[in-house]
């Protein structure tokens, strides 16, 4: 079977996802459940009704943003796996402005959003600076920053943002700082449009501007970038800041753009792991902002459908994350599909 060259990335991504599903099916089967039943429940849960579909989009919203964090890093030649921590701080920043700083409607929503993005970007500056001027490996430093961010955010949430009388969560966002709910039967809000818009802006920036060109050049070939007069430190900082803005927005979206809590849990339970999930989304989306949007819908469907799978078949929805890992693992093998294609051609 021959596929046109331009479609190859798409078919390969989908094939890898299919491979992940098969591997996940084996796991489900190994632990004594029926993969067919599980996946049927998953599909029904994700796409069965209008509200399921909207809920899928609600799950997709933060994923397309954390995917952007990873993707922009890869495009600049960096492994920024700090979306997790940047997202925590973004959620804290948004919660603070949305819940504790009264402002007029309209302005308030924008201010809370920007506060979240700024907090994420600021947190991203730590590994950025360590990388640019100390050569510290970004994988280790971003992971360490994630753990520090976890404890710092819980500390801030409990000591400064806690809702009086309710230890388990922070003050909710004031009504002026909430994104409008798009449909009462789901948790999808207008923050989806902000997320998609931001991804498109990043796309236009990376492929349509001089600075974006230089960023991608540094990722594609660092020596050629030096030849072209690109300063590597600037690229490192720029890509981390863009990634931090995206992750910060992702964190904010879960507080001011996701009913019913409209707040951050003290355990950070409503944001944890969304950052790591973004890695798989980014890879399936071929580290492209637009690809990331599409892949996020796919992973959003897995997350939403996973809930019905857990409820009906008893397969823990956490399995979806294991599946995500398998997909990332498979995406790491560039030869996989080349090898397979050659086998098939023979």
């Amino acid at each position: 079977m021959r596929t046109p060259r331009a479609l190859r990335p798409l078919t390969e991504s989908l094939a890898t996802v299919a491979l992940g599903l098969v591997a996940g099916g084996l796991l489900i089967w190994a632990f004594g459940h029926s993969p067919v039943a599980a996946y049927r429940a998953l599909a029904v849960g994700a796409f069965g009704t209008r509200e399921d579909l909207l809920e899928t989009l609600a799950f997709a919203t933060p994923l397309m943003l954390t995917a952007l964090t990873f993707a922009v890093g890869v495009r600049a030649g960096l492994f920024n796996i700090g979306a997790e921590g940047q997202m925590y701080l973004g959620a804290v920043g948004a919660t603070f402005v949305a819940g504790m700083v009264p402002m007029p409607a309209g302005v308030h929503l924008a201010a809370a959003t920007l506060a979240g993005m700024a907090a994420g970007a600021l947190w991203a500056l730590i590994p950025a600076v360590l990388k640019a001027w100390r050569g510290a490996h970004e994988v280790i430093s971003t992971i360490m920053c994630n753990w520090i961010a976890l404890h710092l955010s819980m500390y801030l949430a409990i000591n400064f943002l806690a809702e009086p009388g309710r230890a388990e969560r922070t003050v909710p966002a004031l009504p002026t700082a909430r994104y409008p709910v798009l449909s009462e039967e789901s948790t999808l809000t207008a923050v989806l449009f902000v997320a998609v818009g931001f991804a498109l802006v990043v796309y236009a920036y990376l492929w349509g501007t001089r600075a974006g060109y230089e960023l991608r050049l540094a990722g594609e070939n660092p020596d050629a970038a030096r030849y072209a007069g690109v300063r590597p430190e600037r690229v490192v900082v720029l890509s981390f800041v863009i990634g931090g803005l995206a992750a910060g927005l992702a964190g904010a979206s879960q507080v001011i753009g996701r009913p019913p809590a409209w707040s951050l849990y003290a355990t950070l339970g409503n944001v944890t792991t969304l950052g790591f999930d973004g890695i798989g989304v980014a890879l399936v989306g071929r580290n492209h902002p637009v690809g990331g949007i599409l892949a996020a819908v796919l992973f959003g469907a897995l997350a939403q459908g996973g809930r019905l799978m857990e409820y009906e078949v008893g397969v823990l929805s956490e399995l979806v994350r294991a599946l995500n890992g398998i997909i990332v693992f498979a995406m790491a093998v560039p030869e996989l599909w080349t090898l397979l294609r050659r086998r098939l051609a023979r």
Binding site: L27, F31, F79, I81, I126, L130, R134, G135, A136, H137, V139, I140, S141, I143, M144, C145, N146, W147, I148, H151, L152, M154, Y155, N159, T273, F276, D277, I279, G280, L283, L316, E318, L319, V320, R321, A322, L323, N324, G325, I326, I327, V328, F329, A330, M331, A332, V333, P334, E335, L336, L339
Partner: protein
């Protein structure tokens, strides 16, 4: 430059006990905790030193910690012995290491992405396992008699696994620098082409180190519940896999130095836990900041030392004949 850091570390080791005594933290129990915390880091770091010397990098140590810890407890319960658990953990670690090695060697995978894939997988698979095996999502406490018993030594109660970790570090050092196999491992990391044209198998050497590295990390993971905590939670490794990676970098891939680095980080961990539980101290420092200590230290070390280290020229790069 490196010796300055070791000098600083030595000064801290000598000076710290006095200060701690005055602050109400008993140094002996601190050392005991420090050695416990050192053990998984040392095991994983020593294995990863071998692995990186051969030109592979395993970012998935964290995943191996998590999965091995869980599976080890299951093995211990089935085999009714902590030692069975340790073996099971090491075996699972070896398998995961081998798998990662295989995709790196034969699939020419991007090793960082593959390793992160393993980590994300563990993030979902471990909670799934906890539910599937014990139908209990939070914490699983296993019978105390499954714990690997500690032995009395001049420096306090020490786990035999800790002693094994020290011995393994020495063995790894001897292997690398005193044997033909180590000679070949160092060669394959620096110049796989040379090993290939010499008629040796690049793939086998790398699979070997990936598997051994995985097994050591698996042993470290098994040690977390069976030798240290006495219980299982899903976030049991809490970033230790990455701290072990930092130890490897800090040590410039030398197993003995990695052991030292692991001790340093272990003591920081021990210090943090001591501060968190000691009356009179714990009230004054918010727990969250204490919990940050190991991570902040790692971040500082990574920022302070690295950059100028010499690494085998092919770490993380797949080898292929043109």
């Amino acid at each position: 430059m490196r010796w300055v850091w070791w000098l600083v570390a030595a000064a801290v080791l000598v000076g710290a006990p006095r200060l701690l005594e005055r602050a109400g933290l008993p140094p002996v129990s601190l050392l005991e905790t420090g050695l416990l915390a050192m053990t998984p880091l040392a095991l994983a770091a020593v294995g990863e030193c071998l692995n990186e010397k051969a030109g592979l990098v395993n970012i998935g140590l964290e995943a191996i910690f998590m999965v091995s810890a869980t599976v080890a407890v299951w093995f211990a319960e089935v085999g009714r012995s902590g030692y069975t658990g340790l073996l099971g953990g090491a075996a699972v670690g070896a398998l995961l290491g081998l798998g990662l090695g295989a995709v790196s060697v034969y699939g020419r995978a991007d090793q960082i992405i593959a390793g992160m894939g393993l980590n994300v997988f563990a993030l979902g698979f471990v909670p799934f396992l906890l539910i599937s095996l014990w139908a209990f999502p939070g914490i699983h406490v296993f019978p105390n008699e499954l714990m690997v018993p500690r032995v009395s030594t001049p420096v306090g109660q020490v786990s035999p696994v800790t002693l094994a970790a020290v011995a393994l570090a020495v063995l790894a050092h001897l292997l690398l620098h005193r044997t033909v196999l180590g000679f070949r491992i160092r060669a394959v990391g620096e110049k796989p082409e040379a090993v290939d044209v010499a008629g040796l198998r690049v793939d086998r050497l790398r699979l070997l180190t990936a598997t051994v590295g995985g097994a050591l990390a698996g042993l470290g993971g098994a040690f977390l519940p069976l030798g240290w905590f006495g219980a299982l939670v899903k976030e049991i490794s809490a970033g230790r896999g990455f701290i072990a990676l930092a130890c490897v970098v800090f040590a410039g891939l030398e197993p003995l130095l990695a052991l030292g680095a692991a001790l340093l980080f272990g003591l920081a961990d021990g210090f943090a836990s001591a501060v968190a539980v000691t009356p009179g101290v714990k009230e004054r420092v918010p727990f969250y900041f204490v919990a940050m200590i190991p991570y902040a230290l790692t971040l500082g070390v990574v920022a302070a030392v690295i950059g100028r280290r010499r690494f085998p020229s092919t770490v993380g790069r797949p080898y292929a004949r043109e």
